[in-house]
């Protein structure tokens, strides 16, 4: 193990805000493997340490332990664990309660469930003041307003009376940060503070955290995404399997990653990587992986200048079948409105037009509420447009009845953000794929039912095996239910199901948003490979401009129901014209 005792670059005199030496945390039986084993780090006042790692690497358990929240059955051992010079090792629950909020604050990922939905936000923030200070009620509320103002929530009077459900995602996260810094703790721990947020909001929250850091608070930022933390972290510690495998100043770790785990994480960041570059490098790859910052920057420049990327030449696409038109999907003047409470009508999609060429990817990017999911539903004919039309393979699609549309359904596959929800919870992976395969197969002449149905039908089995192989899933998973699979595996099953009917078009609605950056990289690589081999046309909908940049031939940006800019990817990213697009682009997390 290479536990590098890290010393802050230029710490002021006095004890560091946090010092941890040789910390191990285990759960359950004493013989079980520890979740965190022997990690050491230090954070000085006004410094930001980012702990990055994939899910299951032990980073969140580390954060919880620093707050005394590892859980009743946790076994915590360390040579030293001290906050601002005072040891917090083996504290009683009562003394932890006194310290939490005062000595160390916590910001969680999911602000919606971290704030009580029934209590006004102001009261939530005032809680820690009430518990830890002797301020009078009037002083408390004026301090709350101050806090709200300092986290960039103006109209404090109004905000403090609202409940968490009445705030937007970014506002909630700000309110949560306000409650974490209410007592001005010397140490603030932020666990995936921006994961659920839109990129522009994410950028604002990171800016806010940086401001707090500059005021002298020590900040620990926990994330699975290197690009996000690289903005504000002074130092990075990479965790894998409960150990810190690499640590050092941010620019050094990102510029010259030494450990394979770090290199994989650097490579997995999609923004600025040209199409066809593999994001998920094989783990055992030697020193070659094009992962240095210089290489990435060069690649980004290359992709911006021209689509002829040089990093990893992309194998030529399978020749598109000569059947059918070159435009496989066409939307013209799509409009869809919803009635809002109060009688007003909201145009979720307003005069949206686009064309998807055979074998290419059209990326539709927009923040939450921009109308991109409604667009996906219109394209999938799950709801009918008020005006406008969708045509698939040159044939009418949105304007005909479901019965007339059904024969064409096999040409349009779909994968969803919530892969788990898109599967019947009673079915195993085998059943899911078997049903999908049967739909595509020939029909029995007598009954019109699918011929490829029975459980022992050899042809159906062979096809299921082939699909599994395509999405790189082990046949051992066949008898599991999606609930028992990991997020990445679920999405692969979803892709396999979509491919069963041999579609020409694949509609991907936020297919990787719920996944870790590392898993996201694998799924994006898989989609790219499938597109090349099967000549698929992809409609790729995402809130993540970095992902869209990596996968798209053409990009459309949606804002408030309208497409504000649409162009071929190279020129789009080289010279965005619309101000909203420019704002979006500047907010995309990138490696420095």
């Amino acid at each position: 193990m290479s536990a590098h005792p890290v010393t802050p670059a230029a710490g002021p005199a006095g004890p560091p805000a946090l010092r941890v030496r040789n910390l191990s945390v285990g759960f359950g039986r004493s013989g079980a493997d520890p979740v965190v084993s022997g990690i050491s780090f230090e954070v000085a006042a006004g410094e930001c340490l980012a702990i990055v790692g994939e899910s299951g690497s032990g980073k969140s358990v580390t954060a919880r332990t620093l707050l005394g929240l590892a859980g009743a059955d946790a076994r915590v051992q360390a040579d030293e664990m001290s906050i601002a010079g005072a040891s917090v090792l083996a504290l009683s629950e009562a003394s932890w309660r006194r310290r939490r909020g005062r000595d160390v604050g916590l910001v969680l990922q999911d602000a919606l469930s971290s704030l009580d939905p029934l209590r006004p936000v102001g009261r939530e923030i005032a809680d820690s003041l009430r518990l830890h200070t002797t301020l009078a009620p009037a002083e408390r509320s004026s301090r709350v307003l101050e806090l709200l103002d300092s986290v960039g929530l103006p109209d404090g009077e109004l905000r403090s009376r609202q409940r968490s459900g009445e705030l937007s995602g970014g506002q909630r996260q700000r309110a949560l940060i306000a409650s974490a810094i209410a007592l001005d703790p010397p140490l603030l721990i932020a666990d995936e503070p921006t994961t659920a947020l839109d990129v522009t909001v994410q950028a604002q929250i990171l800016e806010l955290l940086e401001r707090i850091k500059r005021r002298g608070t020590a900040l620990i930022l926990i994330s699975h995404d290197l690009a996000v933390v690289s903005r504000i972290a002074d130092r990075v510690a990479v965790m894998s399997n409960g150990r810190i495998v690499e640590t050092g100043p941010t620019h050094e770790v990102l510029g010259r990653p030494r450990h394979a785990e770090t290199r994989a994480m650097v490579a997995a960041v999609p923004a600025g990587k040209p199409r066809g570059t593999l994001l998920a490098a094989p783990r055992a790859a030697g020193p070659a992986a094009p992962a240095t910052a210089a290489a990435a920057a060069a690649a980004a420049a290359a992709s911006a200048a021209t689509s002829a990327a040089t990093a990893t030449p992309r194998p030529a696409r399978a020749a598109a079948p000569d059947i059918g038109p070159a435009i496989v999907l066409e939307a013209t003047g799509l409009t869809k409105g919803f009635r809002m409470p109060g009688g007003t009508r909201l145009l979720a999609v307003d005069d949206v037009s686009f064309r998807l060429e055979r074998g290419t990817t059209l990326g539709i990017v927009g923040e939450s509420g921009s109308g991109k999911t409604t667009t996906a539903r219109l394209v999938l004919a799950l709801s009918a447009p008020d005006h406008g039309e969708v045509r698939v393979l040159g044939r009418p699609w949105s304007s005909v009845s479901e019965q007339d549309r059904r024969p064409l359904r096999t040409s349009v596959g779909a994968i969803y953000q919530d892969a788990l929800g898109s599967f019947d919870p009673r079915l195993s992976v085998r059943d899911i794929l078997r049903h999908a395969v049967a739909l595509d197969g020939p029909r029995r002449p007598d009954t019109g039912r699918p011929a490829l149905f029975g459980a022992h039908n050899g042809e159906a089995q062979a096809r299921v095996a082939e699909l599994l192989d395509r999405v790189r899933l082990s046949p051992a998973l066949l008898d599991r239910r999606p609930l028992e699979l990991s997020g990445g595996q679920r999405q692969r099953v979803g892709i396999a199901r979509a491919l069963a009917s041999r579609p020409q078009i694949l509609v991907c609605d936020e297919p990787v948003s719920a996944l870790d950056v590392g898993v996201q990289a694998q799924v994006l690589d898989l989609l790219d490979e499938l597109q090349r081999e099967l000549a698929l046309s992809l409609l790729f909908i995402s809130h993540d401009l970095g992902v869209v940049q990596h996968v798209s031939d053409r990009v459309a940006v949606m804002n408030e129901g309208r497409i504000v800019e649409q162009a071929d990817a190279p020129s789009f990213f080289a010279s965005p014209t619309h101000p909203y697009t420019r704002r979006l682009l500047s907010a995309v997390p990138r490696l420095p």
Partner: protein
């Protein structure tokens, strides 16, 4: 900030373990319930095997015998062996319970499916009718039916079935509406399944599977209600070997011959507890499956 949520997230591993490793107490209870259920079913199907005597055979010389070796549960005022009568009454009680639940469930499925699938006016009407039925306590509704059609086993069964139907209908409707708008049904539409196949393959199984649990729980409740009606003299009539009727007959002698009401009562309780325990066991399995 909710510490609870933190704990829940951290406790994930522990919770998953707990799901597979059931506490021993529950496992024992489930085993016991299974054994009792086996005995009850055997008594219902082949009472002669469990108690070879005649439940109606009178022997006035043996009247009011307390529990003893020849008469395990004692005898009643006509000298009939109570053990034989209780065992032979099992079939009746179970049949009433199962039939009543079937009637209730059948009606519930019908109404719930109509409301959930057709929506609009039908949904509105069914919901208002259900609300009216909900306004009556269940047993009162059963009494109303018996008042109109006269006492008897058949009427009591139908009455109990009718009074449990609204609850089932409500649950089925809610479940149906939820499943119908779920993401996997939309995914099936996108795959190109016909509405009929989506209904048969996805919507109905996911709506009805939870009903299995409810029905098992319901059988216990229906038996208690049916025996309650018999006790009031509105269901099975004496001298039929039916638990409720026997309980009622024993009431007169409760101070001198406690066994006459105790053993039929014990079996009613045992049956209801068994049905509930089995229902909960199925529910747990389904949740963790």
């Amino acid at each position: 900030m909710s510490d609870l949520e933190l704990q829940a997230e951290l406790g994930l591993g522990a919770r998953r373990q707990g799901a597979t490793r059931r506490p021993r107490r529950i496992a024992v209870a489930e085993g016991l319930a299974g054994a009792v259920a086996l005995f009850l079913v055997l008594s219902a199907v082949m009472p002669q095997l469990v108690a070879p005597g005649d439940p109606l055979a009178i022997d006035p010389l043996q009247a009011f015998q307390p529990p003893s070796l020849p008469h395990w549960f004692g005898t009643d005022e006509s000298g009939r062996d109570l053990y034989t009568r209780v065992v032979h009454g099992t079939g009746n009680s179970l049949l009433i319970g199962v039939l009543a639940t079937t009637i209730g469930l059948g009606l519930g499925v019908l109404l719930g499916t109509l409301a959930g699938m057709l929506g609009g006016f039908v949904d509105f009407t069914v919901n208002r009718v259900l609300e009216v039925l909900f306004a009556f306590p269940g047993l009162l509704l059963a009494l109303l039916v018996i008042l109109i059609y006269g006492p008897g086993v058949a009427t009591a069964t139908i009455a109990v079935g009718l009074s449990t139907a609204p609850g089932y209908a409500r649950i089925i409707r809610a479940q149906l509406v939820q499943v119908r708008s779920s993401a996997f049904v939309e995914a099936a539409t996108v795959q190109g399944l016909t509405p009929r196949r989506i209904l048969a393959r996805h919507i109905l199984p996911n709506t009805l599977a939870p009903l299995l649990v409810l029905a098992t729980l319901g059988v216990g409740q229906a038996i208690v209600w049916a025996t309650a009606l018999s006790y009031l003299g509105l269901g099975a009539q004496p001298p039929a070997a039916e638990w409720g009727a026997m309980l009622s007959a024993g009431r007169t002698y409760i101070t001198s011959a406690w066994w006459m009401s105790f053993f039929p009562g014990l079996f009613i309780v045992l049956t209801a507890v068994t049905a509930t325990t089995l229902g909960r066991a199925i529910e747990r399995r389904m949740r963790h499956a």
